[in-house]
């Protein structure tokens, strides 16, 4: 396996664009990445497209709009981890020597409201909703560790503050702790401002070999770790706070990259709900189990903290257009490592990490988890 670098990234502002086609969202993100990489799009030899609900050959449709045809195109479905999984496939195609340059694109148009449950899903028939799934984790975390509603809400305050510095975020307004706690209760203890919005979006990244990266003259951002796994069987006795999936996936990625959690300078994680981010702190190894609430309260995960998490605003405020999310995380980390994150720039980061989860399946912890580690050489 050879070294792989991210040469260019692009994304559109996330939000609701009822009048714009998915193909157009994809086109803008793809051409954004092409321009950022400074390449002729004809050099792209393969494209992986992550999406959940865009129908057949969505990748080809977006690429056609971007003027790219006649190359290998693979559409990737892995729920909310679809974008990260397409990035992983693009990584493999370059690392394995098959291609020198690959495109990973994620895109989604979803509209609004709660995501509909799968009619075959017994839990859905019983009234399970996704915010409720996370809320049950929050209740258990509060019970075992004394985590407070205020600590949960602080995740949302941080997220909105960071997103107010991100011109590509869906929500760009700061909120106060009282506003978060006082917003409508969705599933106790999670209020509306603690749940990520639905929306539309697209993001793209161009991966390449060392030779191409060095010729480009762009900063060398190496993909040092790349791991995608599916959840193990779970059932009685499952510790819903432990997430062996995030632990093992990140552990494998740390080993591959020869770094540890203490080396991570900036992280984008799957904060679909505030409690999710607190659990990820623990399961990615940023703090001991049970101390996630204290970590946010101490300010450690602020842009100016010791381990900044979701400087982009994350899923909570930047938005969560399913298939686009994983690539958008890569876009943020690459810009952070290059020092191009402007008002939300973390101080001279060298190691960045992205973490995405996807797909609720009864009997499995989750459908997929992806962790990527990036190093500025």
């Amino acid at each position: 396996m050879r070294d792989v670098f991210v040469m260019g990234v692009g994304m559109i502002r996330f939000g609701k664009f009822p009048e714009v086609w998915m193909e157009e969202l994809g086109r803008q993100a793809i051409l954004g990445a092409v321009k950022d990489a400074g390449i002729d799009p004809k050099k792209l030899m393969v494209a992986y497209c992550g999406h959940s609900h865009q129908g057949r050959v969505a990748g080809q449709r977006a690429l056609k709009q971007a003027g790219i045809s006649g190359i290998e195109v693979v559409n990737v479905e892995n729920a909310c981890a679809g974008g990260s999984t397409s990035f992983r496939q693009a990584y493999l195609s370059v690392a394995g020597g098959l291609y020198d340059m690959a495109l990973a694109v994620g895109m989604e148009k979803v509209g609004g409201g709660l995501l509909p449950p799968n009619p075959e899903d017994l839990d859905g028939l019983q009234g399970r909703v996704l915010p409720g799934h996370y809320a049950m984790k929050a209740v258990r975390h509060m019970y075992e560790y004394g985590t407070t509603p205020e600590q949960l809400a602080m995740v949302s305050v941080k997220s909105h503050k960071n997103a107010s510095l991100n011109p590509l975020a869906q929500y760009q307004e700061s909120v106060t702790l009282d506003q978060v706690l006082g917003s409508r209760m969705v599933a106790d203890p999670l209020t509306l401002l603690q749940c990520c919005p639905t929306g539309d979006g697209a993001a793209a990244a161009i991966l390449c070999s060392r030779k191409e990266a060095e010729q480009s003259g762009r900063p060398l951002i190496r993909v040092a770790g790349s791991v995608v796994r599916s959840g193990n069987f779970v059932g009685a006795g499952e510790d819903i706070l432990a997430s062996p999936l995030t632990r093992e996936t990140s552990q494998n990625a740390y080993e591959m990259a020869s770094v540890g959690p203490q080396d991570v300078d900036v992280c984008e994680c799957h904060d679909a709900f505030t409690i999710g981010e607190i659990l990820h702190y623990e399961n990615l190894g940023f703090c001991p189990r049970g101390e996630g609430g204290r970590l946010i309260q101490d300010g450690a995960t602020e842009i100016t903290g010791t381990i900044p998490v979701n400087p982009s605003g994350g899923l909570l405020s930047k938005g969560h257009p399913l298939g686009a999310t994983g690539i958008a995380q890569v876009v943020e980390i690459v810009r952070q490592l290059r020092g191009e994150a402007e008002k939300r720039q973390v101080e001279t980061p060298r190691v960045g990490l992205t973490h995405t989860m996807g797909g609720a399946i009864p009997g499995l912890e989750a459908g997929a988890c992806a962790v990527h580690i990036f190093v500025r050489d």
């Binding site: 709660l114 509909p116 449950p117 017994l122 839990d123 859905g124 028939l125 019983q126 009234g127 399970r128 909703v129 915010p131 409720g132 809320a135 049950m136 984790k137 929050a138 209740v139 258990r140 019970y143 409508r184 209760m185 969705v186 599933a187 106790d188 999670l190 069987f233 059932g235 009685a236 006795g237 499952e238 819903i240 009864p362 009997g363």
Partner: protein, 145 residues
């Protein structure tokens, strides 16, 4: 008219095969699970293949315990179509080593305690598109024995 038809008019089970239908009146209804004689694991809902033993396991239908322990819960206040918020959903651990997702009979947080016993009951949880009451299993807080 078959016996029981009048009692189930306007009511439908949340899904076939999870519990006896129509429900007996004497409170004897249990949830039906599967037990794998190969590895000893139990499952709900019933399944024909053990995920671990595959064709090598022998699956036997078993009635599941009516009492369990509340692992965690939430009060759902923004509900999908057909459901009337607020209602509580919970994860309940049964002694057979099965964890169930189910609604609770109460949505009052003061009545709900983690790691405390709960017991099985049946009742309406929603209305379907045709206006029928959807009947399912629920758990209610129970006294410790």
């Amino acid at each position: 008219m078959k016996q029981g038809d009048s009692e189930v008019k306007g009511k439908v089970p949340v899904k076939e095969g999870l519990f006896p239908w129509p429900l007996p009146h004497d409170g004897s209804a249990t949830l039906m699970g599967s037990h794998c004689e190969g590895c000893g694991q139990s499952f709900f809902p019933k399944r024909t293949l053990c995920p671990e033993c595959q064709e090598g396991g022998v699956m036997k239908e078993i009635p599941l315990s009516q009492r369990g322990t509340l692992y965690t819960y939430t009060i759902v206040r923004q509900a999908p179509a057909g459901f009337e918020p607020p209602y509580a959903t919970a994860l309940v651990d049964l002694p057979e080593g099965v964890r169930l997702f189910a609604q609770l009979t109460t949505a009052d947080p003061d009545e709900i305690k983690l790691d405390e016993p709960v017991e099985l009951t049946f009742g309406p949880i929603a209305r379907d598109m045709a206006g029928n009451e959807v009947i399912s299993y629920l758990f209610r807080p129970a006294k410790a024995r």
